[in-house]
């Protein structure tokens, strides 16, 4: 690993100046960035530590409105929070499924949302599209863990579990651009490869995600489930987050987001159109689940993800 400077800005407004002519990167828990610099996927000159910036690590309930979670709050704190477990269950479920206990103790919410892809060609010595090369090695190569929808021209899946839950919960991100803060709904945050193949979200390198706001989920229940090869450490092969309102055993409204299938947490039009009015019995759920991923275009080795995602939808709806 090449050497770099480790910089600890004392305020948010100080952050941007380190991005003027140097090759810098924001550093939160480091569990993702460190892997990338060690492999020399990127050789940054400056690591800009966000922990020295005050007030980014608070969880705050805003009465009657919702919950504000600082970007530097650790995943383990989210996983253990009673408020989040009771009111924003999908996020609690997702946080508990991230990586391992040790990693959850270092990893932050902001870092989890902004982490880079796990495509093995990208993490290894391949000059692929995302690294300014002219070829996607996964498209015809080892693509078992890649995207089945929304992929082309790069077939990464978004690696974050918490992002899938936050999308179902309609989170809003607060972003500081060096001068001022703005709000961006999560549905406008992630970027598909056909729009920009180098970035996974709208942030400029110097822009800081400061906090995540989740609106109050009155009368709604939410859950997240994930399937991975090992229970610990592994990223989702597919995951599902749901948020619904119910009247008896009928769903009156809600949202379903799929993880592990696309370069961004995936909003499938057909299932989301069909969710309202769904009766929660085995036959209806079974029929309903088949609406998911009908437009998918799997690669040679990842077709299993369609069945897997549909089965996860069935599981989560029969438990909700």
């Amino acid at each position: 690993m090449k050497n770099f400077k480790y910089i600890q800005p004392k305020s948010l407004s100080e952050v941007k100046k380190y991005f003027s002519d140097n090759h810098s990167v924001l550093y939160a828990g480091g569990t993702d960035v460190l892997g990338l610099v060690k492999k020399e996927v990127y050789n940054y000159e400056n690591m800009i530590d966000l922990k020295s910036v005050p007030d980014l690590d608070k969880v705050e309930e805003v009465k009657g409105k919702g919950l504000k979670i600082g970007a530097l709050v650790k995943i383990s704190e989210i996983a253990e929070s009673e408020i989040i477990k009771n009111k924003y269950t999908a996020l609690s479920d997702a946080a508990q499924k991230v990586a391992s206990p040790q990693i959850r103790n270092m990893a932050t919410l902001g870092g989890n949302i902004c982490q880079r892809p796990r495509c093995w060609y990208y993490r290894d010595d391949y000059a692929c599209l995302r690294k300014d090369g002219d070829y996607c090695y996964a498209e015809e190569g080892e693509n078992k863990y890649h995207a089945v929808i929304g992929g082309s021209p790069c077939f990464i899946v978004h690696p974050s579990d918490t992002a899938v839950a936050l999308m179902a919960l309609d989170a809003v991100f607060n972003i500081f651009d060096g001068n001022a803060e703005r709000e961006v709904p999560i549905s406008e945050f992630f970027v598909q490869p056909d729009e920009d193949v180098y970035l996974e979200n709208i942030l400029k390198p110097y822009e800081v995600l400061t906090s995540v706001f989740i609106p109050e989920q009155k009368n709604k229940v939410s859950r997240f489930i994930k399937f991975a090869e090992r229970d610990v450490w592994d990223f989702a092969m597919a995951s599902v987050a749901v948020k619904v309102e119910k009247n008896g055993n009928k769903i009156t409204g809600g949202k379903i987001i799929l993880g592990g299938v696309a370069p961004i947490p995936w909003y499938d039009e057909k299932i989301n159109k069909g969710i309202s009015g769904l009766t929660l019995d085995e036959k209806s759920i079974d029929e309903f689940s088949k609406l998911a991923l009908q437009d998918a275009e799997p690669l040679s080795k990842n077709g299993y993800k369609i069945t897997l995602a549909r089965n996860l939808i069935k599981m989560i709806l029969s438990e909700i």
């Binding site: 480790y6 892997g35 610099v37 990586a99 391992s100 040790q102 990693i103 229970d231 450490w233």
Partner: protein, 160 residues
């Protein structure tokens, strides 16, 4: 180079080092604390587990700069004056050690659990070591050793 000071096994330490060195390198090379082992180097085995600010973390994923003003406890810091603590004794008693490579990390993960919860359920013990791989013992003996230690209620917070 970066100047850092932090608390290591109860003592304040200072050093100047390259920014790109990891906590595991600093422990093993600069402080000769070789009890902490390196396995995978990527956060997937738990052999390098230490306690940072009372939480179990992978020392292979912590950079020098992140140590500033932190409190670090390693396997060397859990025994006092060369005498094994109850948890270590129980690892021996319950046959929870074979090759021993995973042992320091396992002990630190369980120790971190006991620091915040001296009466954990079996499920909580399993969860605490979910990020630690053992290739030889099998996890039952390790869980038994943790169980017995929790039941004796004798772990004290040495990092204070």
């Amino acid at each position: 180079m970066i100047q850092i000071s932090f608390i290591l096994n109860g003592k304040k330490v200072k050093l100047e080092t390259d920014e790109n060195r990891r906590l595991i390198d600093i422990l093993r090379e600069d402080f000769s604390l070789t009890g902490t082992k390196e396995g995978c180097s990527i956060g997937e085995c738990g052999a390098c587990t230490i306690i940072m600010n009372k939480l179990a973390v992978n020392s292979c994923l912590v950079l020098a700069g992140q140590l500033i003003d932190s409190e670090i406890l390693t396997i060397e810091g859990v025994s006092e004056n060369g005498k094994l603590n109850v948890l270590q004794e129980n690892f021996l008693k319950y046959g929870a050690v074979q090759c021993g490579y995973c042992t320091p990390g396992m002990i630190m993960s369980i120790y971190a659990l006991l620091l915040k919860n001296n009466n954990p359920a079996d499920e909580e013990i399993k969860e605490a070591i979910a990020g630690n791989l053992c290739r030889c013992t099998g996890y039952k003996q390790i869980i038994d050793a943790a169980r017995a230690t929790a039941d004796t209620d004798m772990i004290t917070d040495l990092s204070q």
